[in-house]
Symmetry: none
Subunit: 412 residues, 2 copies
């Protein structure tokens, strides 16, 4: 097994309504197994187009992975197309039908009649259980070609891939190994990081270092290719050390770690607690921190004091202070953090006050201006930031910057 | 001109390093011109693969748009592949060469020798100036097939598409107009909606109704094709009426409207205010509501009372009540909403208490169990839900369901 081809099925992928994140996920996973994806066919919910894509894909590769078109409605045609490509009939699989009925039953519902079609599997194929939805996947072989048909819903696709596909593919002895390691950074721009890395980011290097940016989080991917896993691993480790030494505290984690996850671990390890008082971020800091399971160990209480009145009533911010400096000010942000920390009896508190836009700006206070305060028993530190782009970006950047300030505080 | 096919060229699109946002952009723009994209071929930087993709694409469609592979390096092979497909030789275009030299000169640089290759255009083809980079595009015709080869860098591609491609395509009297209208629903599953719509969702209908689901939000896209814009518009309007009458209050909005946006408008129009008290959603309801600019008009205050202590201290929930029923209970959710409404002096309050997982479940209280309470001056209504999938999905579904309950309350 050396090559894979992806068949992405769905009108939404061709009319601009959806981005094909499944293909990116699969490509990454397959490459890590040493199986490069050599082609991808994106086709509408039409039987002839899907059949043709399967034919082309099996011409290009030994492993064909399709996503989408397994739902219960009339535009879900992948089952039929795969059966046609395999030269097999579709047959109702009683065990799968039971699983679908059970899926509904667990939710106290009766299975709609139309979902029955999802239990039809090409004869000779093997159903793959969908634990998160009603659409089972299908695994099938035809001569030396190996087909997997997975659901289009990303969550269901990923769960099925990891449970049913990955273990099977991992057994194939790879010819060439490519390993990828992601290093996550926060606190500097892409070009500043490129400057720090210098020649490490040149193209045609092995390992190669790629850089992507999303909302201030910079992901450096180290891609190492070698004849065997041990060599590739050594190359990755060496490059990771080099990056860490050049970037210092800009590096906050690895792989898919989020800032909130890393900060949560630090709080838990140091046995510290946190409270939040948010104005412009409107609950986003609390949301990001409580994204992490078990965050109740360190996250005590959050206030979303969006109005001036809420700031005064909830956090006892002196209305004169708001009057004198404005709600978006160093003084008010610091007072919010201070009040939140004391009220919640927490070790740390984070507070934000800013202008997320599009309205609300003045000559002195532009859209994007955000004050972030962090308080501990040692006192309050408040910093002024100007973030750019739209409301959503400004709020995200402000929330992540606040969490990053706490990370730096906890690292000391 | 009726149909388009996209050829996306580049190793980075197949190894999981890059998401093909160019394809999404082009699909949306073309559909708006009444030109549906019927297929997409994603191929590596290999000459045979690119030539095959061009052949397949011109078999599917009259308009072929390629992106990528126009750079100056050895792995940029689109020029050669297009020439082969057209049966034409490549020839250096002096004017283009001058433009590339000028591009470097404006930056005080001399053109590297390797960039000269970018001035080679298939004989009979027309170069398209790249104002943002060195790679010119190529336009070419062969019989009734029309090719555009554009750069892969999204910024350069979009600029070139808008300057050089759009004006030409816009001149074609559309033999056919395709219009799309999105109807957004919340409160029922995909199959329940399909059941309500019945034959309206059949394939090969015109207008066609496509269905996509994301975190409980169901988007129905009405795609209408007609000989002229007026007819297509009438078809869309008619279908929209039909959907609205069949789906009733399941429909919350159109196009890219979010639930929070719609509820925000309703609150503003009815001059009502809202407070939130969140446990398991951890600030997400507040975050979603304050995503909307100007939300300070109706969003007063939010509490994220994640710990039992915070519930008692901040919202005066009687510890005995928590002791007796548990924090995840109808009684506690209702008490939270009631306290939030009174403290914030708001017209409405939403509260959530649940088990988002992965830990925290008991025999009686599984992961996914969430109580949502909505209080107004008329009293509190509290409902019990079981949401599935992972922590993130459970929290999103709970937050959206809470906001949807408020929408239904405001519609009465």
């Amino acid at each position: 097994m050396r090559k894979a081809s992806i068949v992405s099925i769905g009108n939404e992928l061709l009319n601009g309504q959806a981005v094909d994140t499944n293909a990116v996920y699969l490509s990454e996973k397959l490459l890590a197994l040493g199986i490069p994806v050599v082609s991808r066919y994106t086709v509408p919910d039409e039987i002839d187009a899907i059949v043709q894509a399967f034919d082309l894909a099996q011409h290009d590769a030994d492993l064909i992975i399709a996503t989408g078109g397994l739902g219960p409605t009339d535009d879900d045609l992948t089952r039929r197309a795969l059966a046609e490509c395999l030269g097999a009939d579709l047959k109702c699989d009683d065990r799968v039908l039971r699983q679908i009925r059970d899926f509904f039953a667990r939710r106290g519902l009766q299975m709609p009649e139309r979902n029955k079609v999802q239990a039809y599997i090409p004869v000779g194929g093997k159903p793959l259980e969908n634990k998160l939805g009603t659409a089972p996947g299908i695994e099938a072989k035809k001569a030396d070609k190996w087909f997997f048909s997975l659901p289009g819903v990303p969550l269901e696709m990923k769960d099925m891939f990891e449970r049913c596909v990955l273990p099977e593919l991992a057994q194939i002895p790879p010819g060439h190994v490519t390993l990828v390691r992601k290093i996550k950074c926060f606190g500097a721009g892409e070009s500043a990081i490129a400057e720090l890395l210098g020649n490490l980011m040149q193209r045609n290097r092995n390992p190669l270092i790629n850089c992507t940016v999303s909302c201030g989080v910079i992901t450096l991917s180290i891609v190492a290719s070698a004849d065997n896993r041990a060599d590739a691993k050594t190359m990755i480790e060496h490059a990771e050390q080099l990056l860490n030494s050049r970037l210092g505290t800009l590096v906050y984690g690895v792989e898919n770690q989020t800032l909130a996850e890393v900060v949560g671990q630090m709080l838990a390890e140091q046995n510290k607690t946190l409270a939040t008082a948010e104005s412009c971020t409107g609950g986003l800091i609390a949301k990001l921190l409580t994204d992490i399971g078990g965050s109740s160990r360190y996250f005590t209480c959050g206030w979303v004091t969006y109005s001036n009145d809420a700031k005064s009533t909830r956090l006892d911010i002196n209305p004169d202070l708001i009057q004198k400096y404005g709600a978006v000010s160093e003084n008010v942000a610091a007072a919010m953090a201070d009040a939140a920390r004391i009220r919640a009896k927490a070790d740390f508190a984070l507070a934000t006050s800013g202008i997320a836009g599009p309205g609300g700006a003045t000559a002195q206070k532009p859209v994007g201006l955000v004050y972030i305060s962090i308080c501990s028993e040692k006192g309050c530190k408040t910093r002024r930031f100007i973030f750019s782009h739209d409301r959503d970006s400004i709020r995200r950047r402000a929330a992540l910057t606040a969490i990053n300030l706490l990370r730096l505080e906890l690292s000391n």
